[in-house]
């Protein structure tokens, strides 16, 4: 069995570890690029949102490379269109003449997934449990490491002396993590990563601007869709904090578990409820809570990423604008689709950063005038 699934940031590194350990080969399409997007756009319904088109292109690529089973994430009673992705992509690909099996990974399909995994392991519970534990352990450590690399790269990028060094280092480590399948080695790698990032040549210390990234999960996590916004902002000397990362999305967000002890889901819900009482299916309520929290934590601004015509995020947009006014935090909305030009998005982001820098300086000046220090 050769399984293919969608890309999303560094999700492939982690999922591949689990699936391969369960005795199933992984065949994935190329990482999202212009070509795969064009294929997705050609076959997808015209008015559907961007992640649908990109993931359809991924699935197409996987099938072309010889996958015979496709894994679709999501499905079921969702108010957002994400719940229908698998069902419709499946029918589109079948109509194009591909032959494959489809497995939906969702809350209601647990039984069939377990049956499938059992079948792969010769119907033996012991082998299944052994393989699953091993796969999960490796995936967990890999995911933690990927998260660490991403986090350190985000943190040090504004401070690096030679531009691009952090990206180079993180790419090298991501490749290394992808190839490593021994848990002990993975645990050891943690220290190396920390040391290597700390040893990067730094420019003179300064306090970078801090921006919170909120919005739809796919747009925040997938660098192809958001034009490498995290890297670009880092190169502009900004410290970026996305509200979701691949690790958090996979192990916490999809299972609806808390990770962040300082800001739990319950707390987030409580904070957002006066402005947005219901979670309408996407990450709208969480995004609103994180926007409010960012204002409290003293972030300089918030960038909101969403696919064009995203249902929950469009509905929540007026609420974001109101919170931005009430909490006095600058807010930039970027709505992305296949026609958004990278240059246009970059110009807007640069202008936003300039405004934030100006705002911070004028605040400082006001403070200085008032206190005389």
């Amino acid at each position: 069995m050769k399984a293919g699934f969608q890309h999303m940031g560094n999700l492939d590194i982690v999922l591949r570890a689990i699936i391969q350990n369960l005795g199933c080969d992984v065949v994935q399409g190329p990482k999202p690029n212009r070509k795969s997007l064009d294929i997705g756009v050609r076959h997808a319904p015209e008015l559907v949102c961007l992640p649908f088109k990109v993931t359809l292109g991924d699935m197409f690529g996987a099938l072309e490379r010889g996958a015979d089973t496709l894994l679709f994430i999501g499905g079921g009673d969702w108010s957002c269109r994400y719940g229908y992705y698998g069902r419709i992509q499946c029918s589109i690909l079948r109509r194009l003449g591909f032959e494959f099996r489809s497995i939906y990974i969702g809350h209601q399909d647990v039984k069939s997934i377990i049956a499938e995994v059992l079948h792969l392991n010769h119907d033996s519970w012991t082998t299944t449990l052994k393989n699953w534990t091993r796969g999960f352990a490796i995936a967990w450590h890999k995911s933690k490491l990927v998260d660490q690399v991403e986090c350190l790269a985000r943190f040090f990028r504004p401070h690096e002396k030679n531009k691009g060094e952090c990206t180079k280092l993180s790419n090298r480590y991501l490749e290394k993590i992808d190839k490593e399948y021994r848990v002990l080695r993975l645990i050891k790698m943690r220290k190396d990563i920390r040391e290597d990032f700390c040893n990067i040549k730094k420019a003179d210390p300064f306090a970078p601007l801090r921006i919170m990234l909120v919005g739809e999960s796919y747009c925040v996590i997938e660098p192809f869709v958001n034009f490498d916004i995290i890297e670009n902002l880092g190169n502009l000397g900004v410290h970026v904090e996305p509200f979701l990362t691949t690790h958090r999305w996979l192990f916490y967000h999809t299972m609806r578990i808390n990770e962040d002890r300082s800001f739990s889901r319950k707390e987030a819900k409580k904070l957002a409820t006066p402005y947005w009482g219901y979670n309408t299916g996407g990450e709208d309520q969480l995004s609103i809570a994180y926007t409010m929290n960012a204002a409290k934590l003293g972030f300089d601004g918030v960038i909101h990423l969403m696919p064009f015509s995203c249902m929950p995020e469009t509905a929540a947009l007026p609420v974001f604008e109101r919170i931005s006014k009430l909490y006095d935090i600058p807010f930039l909305n970027l709505s992305l689709d296949e026609h958004t030009s990278p240059i246009g998005a970059r110009t807007r982001i640069e202008a936003f950063v300039d405004l934030l820098a100006y705002r911070r300086n004028s605040h400082k000046k006001k403070l200085k005038d008032a206190t005389g220090v």
Partner: protein
């Protein structure tokens, strides 16, 4: 005390129920009146540019009600059916009261959550009445009365699709879409009347009996949106009605659920599809002439098809 109900979105589904309920409780109900250019323009100004046309229109209605009513009634339609599966409202309907609070902070908004996963419809309505200062007994009575009235209204509207409805020279066209598009003559650019003038007889999918429709369409893989499920079922019925000559599907640009529904209609019924199908996407820039041209050519094609018995 007057309660204002904006004449858009869920108004077209539930107005008789709400009106009977509030009037029985002793409140005065005002409507914002039919849509016009001023209302739509006012709505477009305050809503996000990506929102769908009916939503923009809704806020125009809301703004026009500001001076007329003490309270504006904006319900939250979160979960509208529990069995056989959960059926939800679209995210814009779920977030509507919160959006209204953010866009028009000065409005007095009266809201109620209909979420059958948490509590029954009756409890929601009774709680609302209690919030307005009515006794529980009165509220219960008003709710029973309102549901009865609503059932009567639905029954009066119900239109059975039977062979023989078709008169000799006219042909039957099924109309799919949300009630707030099909029944708002300004938003759909008077499409129904014009199609009728062009010589067609229209069957509105919202005049079909809901429960019987569900029974007939049990085997279809359902959608988890409540209003869209009705459209899907109606599409199924239209496809299988032999005396129906064509189907027009009306949706608004930026309607997320619409894009999925159209695709599902396409592939669920794809193999049996022989009825001509026209999809029209509306937004605030749509020109009347453009739509008319498309309708006329669609009707011409149907006439040709019938003449040559294709």
């Amino acid at each position: 005390m007057t309660i204002g109900i904006p004449q858009a979105l869920s108004y077209y589904y539930y107005y008789p129920l709400w009106c009977a309920f509030f009037e029985k409780l002793g409140f005065h109900v005002v409507r914002s009146g039919p849509t016009n250019r001023q209302k739509l323009d006012a709505g477009i100004k305050v809503t996000p540019s990506e929102a769908c046309l009916p939503l923009k229109c809704y806020f125009g209605h809301l703004l026009s009600l500001m001076k007329k009513a003490d309270y504006i009634f904006i319900p939250r339609l979160a979960c509208l059916k529990k069995t056989p599966g959960i059926r939800l409202g679209c995210p814009k309907l779920i977030g509507l009261p919160d959006m209204a609070r953010a866009i028009v902070p000065e409005a007095n908004i009266l809201t109620m959550d209909i979420d059958l996963r948490l509590k029954s419809e009756e409890t929601s309505y009774v709680n609302l009445a209690q919030e307005l200062g009515c006794a529980k007994r009165v509220a219960l009575h008003a709710f029973t009365y309102a549901t009865e009235q609503y059932a009567l209204y639905r029954k009066a509207k119900t239109w059975k699709l039977k062979a023989g409805d078709e008169s000799n020279d006219k042909f039957l066209i099924g109309l799919l879409g949300h009630a707030y598009l099909l029944n708002d003559d300004y938003l759909n650019l008077n499409l129904i009347e014009k199609t009728q003038d062009a010589g067609a007889c229209i069957v509105n999918c919202h005049d079909l009996p809901g429960k019987e429709l569900e029974k007939a369409c049990e085997h279809i893989n359902p959608l988890s949106w409540y209003f869209e499920e009705h459209i899907l079922n109606a599409a199924y019925l239209f496809h299988h009605a032999a005396h129906l000559s064509g189907i027009i599907y009306l949706l608004s640009f930026g309607c997320g659920a619409g894009s999925i529904t159209h695709e599902v209609i396409d592939y669920e019924l794809g193999t049996t599809q022989t009825t001509p199908f026209l999809k029209i996407v509306l937004d605030e820039h749509t020109a009347e002439t453009g739509i008319m041209t498309r309708i006329e050519s669609f009707l011409d094609m149907i006439k040709l098809r019938q003449r040559y018995r294709i």
